[in-house]
């Protein structure tokens, strides 16, 4: 069983023809449905559905409030290494770019983790470039282990790993993974990643399955929008989440719709993703997957993130630096991409409160399941 079976099922599907055939009447009917089928979801990504963003937004807002409440889960990324063995033409970390490479030692990671934890952040995402030699599974494990001492929950965004490697990460304190397929179009995927270690489409596609089998609690999937036809990318993102949710019901599944951002070298994107199309993707995903998490990063601007907060979003990053070593004092390396929202955590909290959302800093604490006795910091009775 693999999501690849679904991808194969759609390999000769005429997306353009289907999307062009959707009528406004069909869209109206779909918006009123309790449960959406695959083709309903695709219809909501059509040009016809673009005329119904307002009713879709109302439904998305209501579904999200019912399922998640008036809360926004907050996390922050920590880049620990930007060495990369891949040559992805759309990424600043790609091996062909002559950028300052950096690789944090355990001591430096601890310093960064402490600096971030002092801001009140409790959930953290550890990221590396995709280099098995420079950021080996052992290195990532060490990084997770160090960071875990300072945070309630640690996730990783690294190259796809084997089940055994994910299990080892989980044992060192990782709860979840984020992995972007970059593009779900197999031919485009191979075109962009030819020759590099990333050139294994199915191994990347099945990463959430392996993470789930390894005991991880959460997975975030998606495509990097701008590399290929965005409506089908959004469609497969939703289907991927749906597949993972159904196959591994105990896994908390989220999607994200990252748009290409300016980087160190110009890359000619397949297309621009307008705000209007982005919102349509967000709303369609929420209507198709009412219980699925939706993450929005600082690739999006403060104004845009504030505007879309009520439209189905459940998780946002804050206080972000995409450079290695960007938090503690000292020099930071080249950023993976330019961030568009520089708010501090307090500014985020304040904006969210103004929008009617409670910023939730901790939604899980993996230390609570630890085998050892309670940490010494746990010494105050509450009631």
């Amino acid at each position: 069983m693999s999501f690849y079976e679904t991808i194969t099922r759609y390999s000769s599907f005429d997306f353009g023809g289907f999307l062009a055939s959707v009528t406004p009447e069909q869209v109206e009917t779909i918006i009123d449905k309790d449960k959406l089928l695959e083709h309903d979801y695709l219809a909501l990504l059509s040009g016809a559905a673009a005329g119904f963003l307002e009713p879709m937004a109302h439904k998305a807002a209501s579904l999200t409030r019912k399922n998640f409440g008036s809360v926004m889960f907050i996390f922050t990324p920590l880049y620990v290494s930007n060495h990369c063995d891949n040559g992805c033409p759309y990424c600043s970390f790609a091996r062909q770019h002559r950028i300052a490479r950096s690789h944090l030692s355990n001591a430096k990671i601890r310093e960064e983790a402490c600096a971030i934890a002092r801001t009140g952040m409790r959930h953290i995402l550890v990221l590396t470039g995709e280099s098995r030699s420079m950021a080996s599974p052992e290195y990532v494990r060490e990084a997770v282990s160090v960071v875990h001492e300072h945070f309630s929950s640690v996730s990783v965004e690294v190259y796809p790993m084997t089940t055994e490697e994910y299990a080892a990460l989980a044992a060192f304190g990782a709860d979840g993974i984020t992995i972007y397929q970059e593009t779900y179009n197999e031919a485009k995927y191979h075109e962009l990643h030819r020759g590099g270690p990333k050139d294994n489409y199915v191994f990347r596609l099945d990463a959430p399955d392996r993470a789930a089998r390894a005991g991880m609690r959460a997975a975030t999937v998606g495509a990097l929008l701008g590399l290929y036809e965005p409506r089908s990318e959004a469609f497969f993102t939703g289907l991927h989440a749906h597949y993972v949710q159904k196959t591994f019901p105990s896994l908390e599944v989220s999607v994200a719709f990252p748009r290409l951002r300016p980087m160190v070298r110009e890359f000619e994107a397949y297309c621009e993703i307008s705000d209007r199309l982005y919102v349509q993707m967000l709303l369609a995903a929420r209507l198709f997957l009412p219980r699925c998490g939706i993450t929005v990063s600082t690739r999006e601007s403060r104004e845009f993130r504030n505007a879309i907060a009520p439209l189905g979003v459940t998780k946002m990053s804050a206080g972000v630096s995409t450079a290695v070593g960007g938090r503690a004092a000292g020099s930071a390396s080249t950023s993976q991409f330019e961030i568009a929202d520089n708010r501090t955590l307090d500014e985020m909290k304040s904006d969210l409160a103004g929008l009617g959302f409670q910023a939730v800093m901790q939604d899980w604490n993996s230390h609570y399941l630890a085998e050892e006795e309670l940490p010494s910091t746990f010494n105050n009775g509450i009631h």
Partner: protein, 256 residues
């Protein structure tokens, strides 16, 4: 005459139990709890940051309430047990709502793991309130294992769909010799009243209050509904007939 609910050796006045999650602002919790006039408040341990208790939801729950920590986030009995022990060690009392969920889509309880956790925690002296799918044999096993009450769902968590499991709930109320507390799915005061009318001992709800535009008013509405339903149950409700009373009785000849 006092109409108190007894759970775990405590006499409880209010039959409405509220939650503490999903609020846009946790400072609302105090006012909501006051308007609901409840005695028990459940708190998700997953969200409690014991390293920073002053910032945690616990700081917003009035001190005179019985704290009912729940094990939301647990995927196995072992995880639920660990969370419950942590809560007790942290001074959150010995009440626990067991919530073991292996399905993140509908958030339906895993009855098998729930039973396993109940068996362990009841032996350890916890007042165990297990959240469960309404299944009679399981409810009997939970009570035999020491559950202080059973908490069957009316509909999936957060769905606000009302008592979709009504027939099964009625069977539990009839057959289980422990309080039956309807938990999850109650979206409207009329749903809460209905649960009380069929003889539920109490109701637990959160989303319907927390996600309303005016949580304080909604909390008051639920308090009134629960009281009304309970009064109606105790007064003995008239039977419901789907047929009119025939003016020419078919068995009148027997009286002749």
């Amino acid at each position: 005459m006092d109409d108190l609910l007894e759970i775990g050796g405590k006499k409880i006045r209010s039959r409405l139990i509220t939650g503490s999650g999903k609020y846009r602002d946790e400072r609302q919790i105090g006012d909501v709890v006051a308007a609901a006039d409840c005695d028990i408040v459940t708190v998700a341990l997953r969200r409690v940051d014991f390293d920073h208790p002053k910032d945690s939801v616990l700081a917003f729950v009035p001190k005179d309430k019985i704290l009912l920590p729940n094990t939301s986030g647990a995927r196995t009995a072992a995880e639920a047990v660990r969370l419950a022990r942590l809560a007790r060690n942290m001074g959150c009392g010995n009440w626990v709502k067991i919530e073991v969920i292996t399905d993140q889509k509908y958030l339906l309880p895993d009855n098998m793991e729930t039973l396993a956790a109940t068996e362990i925690l009841a032996k350890e002296g916890f007042v165990v309130l297990p959240y469960m799918s309404p299944d009679l044999p399981l409810a009997k096993r939970l009570v035999a294992a020491g559950a202080a009450a059973v908490m069957p769902l009316g509909a999936p968590i957060g769905s606000n769909r009302g008592l979709r499991t009504l027939d099964l709930l009625e069977i539990l109320v009839e057959e289980i010799d422990a309080p039956v507390i309807v938990d999850a799915g109650i979206g409207r005061p009329s749903h809460a009243a209905q649960a009380m009318e069929i003889g539920a001992a109490a109701v637990l709800l959160n989303t319907a209050i927390a996600s309303s535009n005016d949580p304080v008013s909604m909390a008051r509405a639920f308090r009134l509904a629960v009281e009304a339903g309970r009064l109606a149950f105790r007064a003995g409700m008239g039977g419901v007939s789907k047929q009119g009373k025939a003016s020419s009785p078919l068995t009148g000849f027997l009286d002749g």
